[in-house]
């Protein structure tokens, strides 16, 4: 069931009507039924996986929480303990909770790993076997990835880790936890909400509120606009240029870079707009996943604005734990002694950065392209860190930091850099990606921009014009959003103005949405992760 399909629209409308007809106290039960129905309709064969994750996390989190609660009362009852005794007791308890946590993590990441990475590992082993010239290879196994497993596993494991870290209490109702894990709008592409942020508004029930529902619908429509008018239209040209890459070298690769960047942006943020919008129509507030990333002035800033819930997940549960772990601090100490303070300080930061970006790449898919993509991000971040003193020197000599032209230069530089790295998403393998990128500097086929070649990519002049208008609208709203909410502004305008804007956008979606011959209503890109 595609997010942009009529059946999904019908499903959402049915849930919406039933939700507000249900007493507030029971609304969460309705959402749970709807979420499981949605999962069953799309992927009934894999329902078992999400149930195992939910049930195992439920029991393990309760156990950890209980041990921690007992610890607290034990320490209150033993106030006479010396510092050492307290320390030892806490250590013992931590060991206990850690063993439960480890079991939960191994089980659930094991499920994710087995379904997502087994064939990738087999493929790599086979390559090694072939390279060594040994006879016989391993056969691939027939296993498919359960829908949304990357997203719901991350969501659930953050819940378990937060219980372990005593950030909040464990959910005592198995079915409420099941709703948190399976909440249908965010099942297939996030955002990866934290229990603390989502649970209250998810479980408390809501009375129909015209303003909130209107807000939600506006956001859904905006999401549809991005997806069907922009993303699905650009997709046609991107596909045309990457199927037979040898025919599309040089400046075509530059086009692929930029086209794919905006396709992915419109696709992913459009999907998240629809997700968050559905939540808003039900009175449920979800974490934001994007803050106008293509207005970022550096890669570091870009990653604070793009796929935020994934970035903070990796930061909180991988980057910090790795970089402040005893073995990393040990490495830091040793390297400080051996190479001096300056290098010693960099070691933990750089190793952790590369580990976290390797993991981020791997999360995106079982393919070397994604791993290299992740590592490239890490390397660029490290390089820009090394350049920081030069930037500081430059800014102390030239007063351009706040000049609009310099800001625009930085934004364009970030877009180009991110788009170049994104090429690993589109071409079939890593060597091909490097080769294609290289052709930008060797094949100067500038003529493609004026000799009609661009009209051979499946898009007409009209399509390009619509894309241009779409991107202008997108950027204008993004720039407005830097200082305020466009929806709040729109809702403060007279009714005639509002309705005129609604009509215009809806007509635009219906008339100029990429449907029909040559265009497929497509699944969201992030669904496959």
């Amino acid at each position: 069931m595609l997010f942009t399909s009529y059946s999904f629209l019908l499903f959402v409308i049915t849930v919406f009507i039933s939700y507000y007809l249900t007493p507030k106290k029971y609304q969460w039960i309705l959402l749970l039924c709807a979420s499981y129905l949605f999962y069953g309709l799309v992927s009934i064969d894999y329902l078992g996986y999400i149930i195992v994750t939910t049930v195992s996390t439920y029991f393990i989190s309760l156990k950890i929480h209980k041990i921690n609660e007992n610890k607290k009362s034990y320490l209150i009852d033993h106030k006479d303990f010396s510092r050492k005794e307290r320390k030892n007791y806490k250590k013992k308890i931590k060991k206990q909770t850690k063993s439960y946590l480890t079991f939960g993590i191994l089980l659930n990441f094991g499920l994710l790993g087995a379904t997502k990475y087994t064939n990738f590992i087999i493929g790599n082993i086979n390559s090694i076997i072939t390279t060594l010239g040994t006879n016989g290879t391993l056969s691939f196994i027939d296993i498919a990835m359960p829908m949304g497993i990357s997203f719901y596993t991350f969501k659930t494991m953050s819940y378990l880790l937060d219980i372990y870290r005593e950030k909040h209490d464990a959910e005592e109702n198995l079915f409420k936890l099941a709703l948190f894990v399976s909440f249908f709008p965010q099942l297939v592409q996030g955002p990866i909400s934290r229990y603390n942020d989502l649970s209250k508004s998810l479980f408390e029930g809501h009375k129909y509120n015209y303003a909130t529902v209107r807000h939600g619908i506006q956001r859904i429509v905006w999401g549809f606009f991005k997806k069907v008018v922009i993303a699905d239209r650009i997709l046609v040209a991107v596909k045309a240029m990457i199927v037979t890459p040898d025919d599309y070298k040089g400046f075509y690769v530059l086009l692929v870079m930029l086209f794919y960047t905006y396709q992915l942006y419109a696709d992913f943020t459009g999907g998240i707009d629809i997700t968050i919008g559905i939540g808003e129509t039900l009175g449920i507030k979800m974490a934001e996943n994007f803050k106008r990333p293509y207005l970022s002035r550096s890669i570091k800033e870009f990653w604070r604005r793009w796929h935020i819930t994934m970035g903070t997940w990796f930061k909180d549960y991988v980057f910090y734990p790795v970089s402040v772990s005893p073995w990393m601090l040990n490495i830091s100490k040793k390297s400080r002694k051996k190479f001096g303070k300056a290098i010693g300080k960099r070691v933990p930061v750089y190793i952790s950065t590369l580990i976290v970006w390797f993991a981020t790449g791997l999360w995106h898919g079982a393919h070397w392209n994604f791993i290299v993509w992740g590592l490239m991000n890490g390397i660029v971040i490290i390089i820009s860190f090394e350049f920081e003193p030069s930037y500081k020197w430059f800014h102390s000599k030239f007063d351009v930091k706040n000049k609009l032209s310099f800001k625009v230069f930085q934004i364009i530089r970030t877009i180009l850099l991110m788009s170049a790295i994104r090429l690993f998403d589109v071409y079939q393998n890593v060597p091909l990606t490097f080769k294609m990128f290289g052709t930008i500097f060797t094949e100067f086929n500038f003529n493609i921009f004026y000799d009609g070649s661009l009209l051979q990519l499946g898009l007409t002049i009209g399509d390009y014009l619509i894309l241009l208008i779409g991107l202008i609208v997108l950027y204008s709203i993004s720039i407005y959003q830097e200082t305020g909410s466009f929806r709040v502004y729109l809702n403060s305008r007279p009714q005639q103005v509002r309705y005129a804007v609604y009509s215009l956008v809806i007509v635009f979606i219906i008339v100029f949405g990429a449907y029909g011959v040559g265009f497929d209503s497509t699944q969201f890109i992030y669904n496959q992760f």
Binding site: R165, E166, K300, Y320, V324, P326, S332, K345, V349
Partner: protein, 75 residues
């Protein structure tokens, strides 16, 4: 506290850590800085800051960071 201020000023000489209270919230220090601060504190105070303590409330000011070190030393 003096030692902590030295650690912080070594990373960002241009920031007045005695008075600034929004180090994380205002984006003055980032995750790279945090790791360097944690490693320095481990080195100078012999205190290991666990990952769950890396939250804005503990890193927003030199004062809150110092309180964290004292709490961890006490535990």
């Amino acid at each position: 506290m003096k030692l902590l201020l030295e650690i912080l000023e070594d990373i960002h000489p241009d920031v007045d850590f005695e008075t600034t209270t929004g180090l994380i919230d205002d984006g003055i220090i980032d995750s790279f800085d945090i790791i360097r601060i944690v490693a320095d504190i481990d080195e100078e105070y012999d205190v290991a800051i666990p990952p769950e303590e890396i939250v804005p409330e503990n890193f927003n000011s030199a004062k809150s960071l110092y309180e964290l070190i004292e709490r961890l030393l006490d535990n």
